[in-house]
């Protein structure tokens, strides 16, 4: 059972943790000062240490270096004793399992380092085999250059060993890679050791610099995790070493691993500045839900629009001009890289209003392909009487490809630029004679579309069969015909938060409910992991979750994924919004 480690915050697979020693240590962090080692069973018999609350004790172990045959590991794997002090077990990717310790030391990590495929495989399989609320320690490999990637993949604990050793070898480490000290003509760093002329800077200084830089990089990493922006950092920083970029890409291929750990919503913005942005879980998940869960409830024509720099799109100057011309006679979907296609009802839904991309008007082949694929699937799933493409020239490579694939013809209304008077008049004219839809229809469709996106295809009707909408966009409240409130729209994320009545409808509907079974207590404010008996595997951070126990029914927003809730013994699993005793 994890006793001395707790995950406080999450950003994808990366976490802010608390190693709860006498002096608590916020992770990702260096263990140098607090690690005690009971010794290796390869060299001698070792007594179980007495341990103490000021240190993390590595229990007597047999480490299996990289390349140790599986048979040998199976034959020599030791048993770990149950101890009452902060402790760590030594595991390999093959032997990793719950040993009841607070942290796990991954043996052989130095063998995988530098080999992205083996590395991703080793770390993810280890992370999946140990309890989610335990710390993962990668000994002897952290550098200022790689530690952001190591944290991103899910490691919590490191040491200065590699940084020190490289320093003694005359390697000057930075977050942009490593330099031979002899090749530097200036010291590009503000740390204390670097405040001297390079002529007098020796290897001992280099050791000091490397350690200082590693510590500084960890501060950057922790801040980035707290901000929910580690990925954005990595897409730039990992470029400096090929194997790190390869590691990020290969981890993207481990979609299930990352998806399980990626929140449904975030406050922070996505920086869309690299090709890898398209592979982010947030982007892929949005595209998947728009094409597989969303259904258009309007029976008007579709107008395809370009995205705008300011978000939500409808607040932008260009889109308000488009809206004036459309005047509620068509459904609007915005085309954008890296999000794909954003139907108007989902323009607030994370990440549709939470990204900022590099705009040059030049699309990469991958971007064109991605947006075209999404648009194609979108149009296959939704039947429109007409498709009007009110887009600038650089978007046409996409629409033309989709027209060709679907054997359909879009109506183009832009001459020169979408916001010229002529273009806007064309747009208005092409919709002449189309009936206007009403505000209530728009509001109902918005609630239902978000419900589809959030809870699953068909949820719009299943949960909000009878529906009355109150208040103004974007702060709509959904009520049943009897006046009971079911849900409210959260404008920052474009998702719904349910009331207990809404939660009951969700439970009663055919849509799969994200359910957590809790022990016999009435939760207030939050539910802690030890109170959880079981949790639906599909729960993600940020999901609406229903809690059911012998004494209570509650609804709240998840702080952990379902597997993390089920596998953890510490930490806040979810905030509770509404609760009732039963």
């Amino acid at each position: 059972m994890t006793e001395y480690f707790e995950v406080i915050d999450r950003d994808g697979a990366a976490r802010i943790g608390d190693l709860r020693l006498a002096d608590s240590l916020t992770t990702p962090a260096l263990l140098d000062d607090v690690l005690e080692e009971a010794g290796s069973l390869w060299s001698d018999e070792q007594a179980v240490p007495d341990g103490d609350e000021s240190t993390l004790s590595v229990l007597p172990h047999r480490a299996f270096p990289a390349g140790t045959p599986a048979e040998v590991q199976a034959a020599f794997e030791p048993n770990y004793p149950d101890v009452a002090f902060p402790s760590a077990a030594v595991v390999s990717p093959e032997t990793a399992a719950d040993q009841g310790t607070d942290a796990y030391v991954l043996a052989g990590a130095s063998g995988f380092t530098g080999h992205s495929a083996a590395f991703v495989e080793a770390i993810t399989s280890t992370r999946e085999s140990i309890p989610p609320d335990a710390g993962l320690y990668l000994p002897g490999i952290a550098t200022p250059g790689n530690v952001a990637t190591l944290a991103y993949i899910g490691a919590d604990l490191f040491d200065t060993d590699r940084a020190v050793i490289r320093g003694t070898q005359g390697w000057y480490l930075t977050s942009d890679g490593e330099y031979r000290l002899d090749d530097l003509e200036e010291l590009p760093c503000a740390c204390e050791a670097c405040q001297q002329r390079i002529e007098t800077f020796d290897r001992e200084d280099c050791v000091e610099h490397n350690v200082a830089t590693l510590k500084a990089e960890l501060r950057t990493v922790r801040n980035r995790i707290r901000q929910g922006r580690l990925r954005d950092y990595l897409e730039g920083q990992a470029r400096h070493e090929q194997w790190l970029t390869a590691t990020m890409r290969r981890l993207d291929d481990q979609y299930a691993y990352l998806e399980q750990r990626t929140p449904l919503v975030r406050k922070s913005e996505i920086t869309a500045a690299s090709a890898e942005t398209l592979d982010r879980v947030e982007i892929q998940r949005f595209a998947e839900r728009v094409t597989e869960r969303y259904q258009c409830r309007f029976d008007t024509p579709l107008v395809l629009l370009p995205c705008s720099a300011s978000k939500p799109y409808s607040d932008s100057q260009s889109h308000s001009q488009f809206q004036d011309a459309i005047n509620f006679r068509a459904h609007v979907a915005s085309m954008t890289s890296p999000i794909g296609v954003v139907p108007q009802e989902l323009e607030l839904t994370y990440p549709a209003q939470h990204y900022d991309s590099v705009v040059t008007g030049r699309w990469s082949a991958t971007e064109v392909e991605f947006v075209a694929d999404v648009l194609e699937s979108y149009l296959e799933a939704n039947d429109y009487p007409r498709v009007i493409a009110h887009i600038p020239e650089d978007y046409q490579a996409i629409t033309e490809r989709v027209e060709e694939r679907l054997g359909e013809t879009f109506e183009y209304t832009v001459t020169d630029h979408p916001t010229t008077d002529e273009s806007l008049e064309n747009l208005a004219a092409t919709l002449a004679g189309e009936p206007k839809y009403r505000k209530r229809e728009r509001q109902h469709n918005a609630i239902r579309a978000i419900a589809d996106y959030q809870f699953g295809a068909g949820a719009g009707e299943a949960i909000f069969d009878d529906l009355q909408v109150e208040s103004f966009h974007p702060k709509l409240r959904a009520k049943a015909d009897n006046g009971e409130q079911l849900a409210a729209m959260v404008p920052e994320y474009g998702v719904l938060s349910l009331t207990l009545a809404g939660a009951r409808r969700w439970i009663d509907s055919d849509v799969p409910t994200k359910r957590v079974e809790i022990d016999d207590f009435v939760p207030h404010g939050s539910v802690l992991a030890p109170g959880i008996l079981d949790a639906d595997e599909s729960i993600r951070v940020g999901d609406e979750v229903v809690f059911e126990g012998p004494s209570a029914l509650a609804v709240g927003r998840a702080n952990m994924s379902g597997p993390e809730m089920a596998g953890s013994t510490r930490g806040i699993a979810s905030d509770i919004r509404h609760v009732t005793e039963r």
Partner: protein
């Protein structure tokens, strides 16, 4: 092993696993060898109880080590050099001796005063070298002063040694003890005997008025650099305390083909010892009443014991110098910046973080 105990059971499991893996790895080797050619012959100088002597070394190609056929030691690739299919005939073994003598004549003026015979197994194992052959070989070298023959402790027997003593050869048995720590010998190296067996073999040798030269392995797999150093220092101390064992030859591990060590090495889980570690052990044990020598094979290469690439030859020269002079002072003059790196590795490397530096 009379009393079954969990400890023994675990040890057997470990041994089974090691043997299974080593058999599989060795099976990847498809080379075969001529039965009438010795594996290797060379001449050098050795520090013996009679002083420094010129020395003819013959690695005989026998049927190979019986233990290696069962799987064997995790670092030993010498079985690859043995003859396929088992036993080598008496005539072939003597033909190998003749070839070796011929090569000695070509390489050296006069006959070497010492002869060392290794078999990559046990010269005293009569399945490898029949009694008749042993006697013939003893006779063939009757004109020398000293002879050293390699054997596992099980086969050390005063009557077999008598073959050489009858020729008035001062005799040493070279025993691949590897380490005095049973746990390391069993679990890391997969060598089956105990230190007590070594002590018994020393007693046998003494009874036949012969001596024992213990061969130790510096840095078996699974040990960190500092654990390896400590294991060697304590092993040398314990060997030196055994009557009859007058010399220790410490062999730094080199990565041999078709071994588990090689598999670890390929996957980034093994680095041969630093030459500084060899220096450290020799310095720390120089005062002991036992001769300690070391001949790092493949020094300076990735697969052999090495430092940074800059200083390897200089350090190797100092080690060779030490072998002859047994004086710690030979190391005083050797310095390199990588000593600081080695210091860091010693201080920081753990069995779970090895190798911390290449």
């Amino acid at each position: 092993m009379s009393q079954p105990s969990p400890e023994v059971y675990e040890r057997d499991r470990g041994m089974d696993a090691h043997n299974q893996v080593m058999r599989e790895i060795r099976a990847r080797n498809d080379a075969s060898y001529e039965p009438d050619e010795p594996t290797k012959v060379w001449i050098d100088e050795d520090n013996t109880p009679d002083g420094v002597l010129d020395s003819l070394t013959i690695v005989l190609n026998t049927g190979g080590c019986r233990w290696a056929r069962a799987g064997g030691c995790t670092m030993c690739g010498y079985v690859a050099e043995s003859v396929e299919g088992g036993t080598v005939a008496h005539e072939d073994l003597l033909a190998q001796i003749d070839t070796a003598l011929e090569q000695e004549r070509e390489m050296h003026e006069g006959t070497c005063r010492q002869v060392k015979i290794y078999t990559s197994g046990s010269f005293l194992d009569e399945r490898e070298v029949p009694a008749e052959t042993r006697g013939a070989i003893a006779e063939r070298f009757g004109d020398r002063d000293r002879i050293v023959v390699e054997s596992l402790p099980d086969f050390v027997d005063r009557e077999k040694i008598a073959d050489f003593r009858e020729q008035d050869l001062k005799t040493d048995v070279a025993i691949g003890l590897e380490t005095a720590t049973d746990r390391v010998r069993h679990d890391c190296i997969n060598k089956y005997f105990d230190f007590a067996d070594f002590e018994a073999a020393c007693e046998e040798a003494l009874a036949a008025d012969a001596g024992v030269k213990a061969y130790l392995l510096m840095k078996p797999p699974f040990l960190s650099e500092s654990e390896a150093i400590e294991d060697m220092i304590s092993s040398i101390e314990r060997c030196g305390a055994v009557d009859g064992c007058h010399t220790v030859s410490m062999n730094p591990t080199n990565v041999q083909r078709y071994t588990m060590v090689e598999q670890l090495y390929f996957d980034g889980g093994y680095r041969p010892p630093w030459l500084w570690s060899v220096v450290e052990v020799l310095s720390e044990t120089a005062d002991l009443d036992v001769t300690v020598v070391s001949d790092p094979v493949g020094h300076g290469s990735d697969r052999g014991p090495h430092n940074c690439g800059e200083c390897d030859d200089r350090v190797q020269t100092a080690i060779k110098d030490f072998n002859l002079r047994q004086a710690e002072s030979v190391f005083a003059q050797v310095e390199c910046a990588c000593e600081r790196t080695w210091d860091g590795v010693r201080d920081r490397e753990r069995s779970y973080s090895l190798p911390l530096a290449q």
